[in-house]
C-alpha cells in the first residue's frame, strides 16, 4: 500500500461533485471547508449551498441540524477526509438521530489539500466508512470507480438514514473556485431561499 496511491485514483473530485449536484432539485448542501467547498462552487454557486471557510469538523453536524429542521428536504454534506477526521464523534451522533433525509459524502484524497498536501490518516490504515459503520450508521460505502459512484449517487437517500459514503478521489491541485466569504451573506441567502 503506497501512501501516494491517491495520485492514481481514477475518480476526479470536480466531476464527482458535479454529478452529485446535477439536477439537484430541492437539495440543501453543506460544503466542508477547503477543496470540498471549492468543488461545490465549481459546480455552480447556489443560494442553497452553505460553504464553510472554517468550523473544521463541523460540516456533518451542520447538516444534521439542517436535516432535523427540514425533514421534507434532502440534505447533502460534501466534505473532505481531513475535515471528517476532525469530527469523528459526530458520526455516532448522526447514527443516534438517524435522519433519512441526510447523506454525507467524503471526498477522500488522503491529503490535507489546503496546507501542502500532507497525508491524512486515510492514506494509511484509517477507514472512514468502517468508522462510520462502527459508529452505528448502517448505510456506509466506499467507492473507487465510476460504476461504484454511479450506483452510490442513485441511492444516496432513503431509509435507514443517514447514509455515509467515502469517494476515493485523485489527489490533484485544481484551480480555486471560491464561494462568497461573508458568513452573514451566506446564511442570509440560504434562509431567504428557504423562505425563512
Amino acid at each position: 500500500m503506497s501512501p501516494k496511491r491517491a495520485d492514481r485514483y481514477p475518480l476526479r473530485r470536480r466531476a464527482v461533485v458535479a454529478a452529485l449536484l446535477k439536477g439537484r432539485g430541492d437539495l440543501l448542501v453543506v460544503a466542508g471547508l477547503g477543496a470540498a467547498a471549492w468543488d461545490c462552487t465549481a459546480a455552480g454557486d447556489r443560494d442553497l449551498t452553505f460553504p464553510l471557510w472554517g468550523a473544521m469538523g463541523g460540516a456533518a453536524m451542520i447538516g444534521l441540524g439542517l436535516a432535523l429542521a427540514q425533514p421534507e428536504r434532502r440534505v447533502l454534506v460534501v466534505t473532505g477526509d481531513g475535515e471528517m477526521l476532525m469530527g469523528l464523534g459526530s458520526l455516532a451522533t448522526l447514527a443516534a438521530q438517524a435522519p433519512a433525509n441526510l447523506a454525507v459524502v467524503v471526498l477522500d484524497n488522503e491529503r490535507y489539500g489546503e496546507t501542502g498536501a500532507q497525508l491524512t490518516h486515510t492514506a494509511g490504515a484509517a477507514d472512514l466508512a468502517a468508522i462510520a459503520r462502527g459508529a452505528g450508521i448502517r448505510r456506509c460505502a466506499t467507492v473507487r470507480d465510476a460504476a461504484g459512484f454511479k450506483r452510490l449517487n442513485a441511492g444516496l437517500f432513503g431509509k435507514p438514514g443517514p447514509s455515509f459514503a467515502v469517494v476515493k478521489v485523485r489527489a490533484e491541485n485544481l484551480p480555486l473556485v471560491l464561494p462568497p466569504k461573508d458568513g452573514t451573506e451566506l446564511r442570509t441567502r440560504f434562509r431567504k431561499a428557504l423562505g425563512l
Binding site: G58, I62, G65, L66, A69, T93, Q97, G183, L186
Partner: protein
C-alpha cells in the same frame, strides 16, 4: 446548598422558557446539574434531545438548526466550554443565534481540582470568543436570566450563554 422550600423550581423554569421561545432542538453533553431539565425536555414531544459526543458538535448542529428555520439550545457543563472554542467562530462569523446553558463547576465548594481550571476560565473564554455571558446565582434569577439571554440570542441574533452558578446547583460530592 439545598434550595429553600419557597424557591422556584428553576429547571422547570428553564424548560418553560425554552418552550416559550419555541426551542425545538436541545443539544447536550449531560451534566448532573442539567439532569432534571434534560428529563423535562426528553418528555416534551415538541423538543428533540440530541446527545453529543463533544460540545462543539452542538455549536455546529445549532447553526444548521437555525439555517433550517428552527431554534435550539445547547446544554453543557462549564468544562465543555473549552471544547467549543474554535467552533464558536461559526456563529460569530455568520452572526447566528446561539443559546448556551452552562452549569458551572470549579467554583463554589468544588471538591474536584480537575474541574477548577476550565470552570474558572469558562466565562472569559466565552467572552473572548464573542459570546455574551449572564450569570444566575439564585433560583429566582434563573427564569428572567434565561428569558433575557434567549431574547438577545434569537431576536439579535447573537451568541449568548447563561452560566448557572455552582452555588445554585449545589456543590457536587461523591457522598463524602
Amino acid at each position: 446548598m439545598q434550595a429553600q422550600p419557597s424557591a422556584p423550581d428553576w429547571p422547570a423554569a428553564i424548560h418553560r422558557q425554552l418552550k416559550a421561545w419555541n426551542v425545538r432542538q436541545v443539544a447536550h453533553v449531560p451534566d448532573a446539574g442539567h439532569a432534571r431539565l434534560l428529563a423535562l425536555c426528553g418528555a416534551d414531544r415538541s423538543m428533540r434531545v440530541v446527545t453529543l459526543t463533544t460540545e462543539e458538535e452542538g455549536v455546529a448542529l445549532l447553526a444548521g438548526t437555525w439555517l433550517g428555520g428552527e431554534r435550539g439550545a445547547l446544554l453543557m457543563q462549564s468544562s465543555g466550554v473549552g471544547n467549543c472554542v474554535n467552533m464558536l467562530s461559526l456563529p460569530r462569523t455568520c452572526r447566528l443565534p446561539l443559546l448556551i446553558l452552562a452549569t458551572m463547576r470549579g467554583e463554589w465548594g468544588e471538591f474536584n481540582p480537575w474541574q477548577v481550571p476550565m470552570g474558572q476560565a469558562a466565562k472569559p473564554a466565552l467572552e473572548l470568543a464573542g459570546v455574551a455571558c449572564f450569570r444566575a446565582e439564585a433560583p429566582a434569577e434563573v427564569e428572567p436570566t434565561v428569558a433575557a439571554a434567549a431574547r438577545m440570542a434569537f431576536e439579535g441574533p447573537a451568541a449568548c450563554a447563561v452560566l448557572l452558578a455552582q452555588r445554585l446547583i449545589g456543590a457536587k460530592t461523591f457522598g463524602k
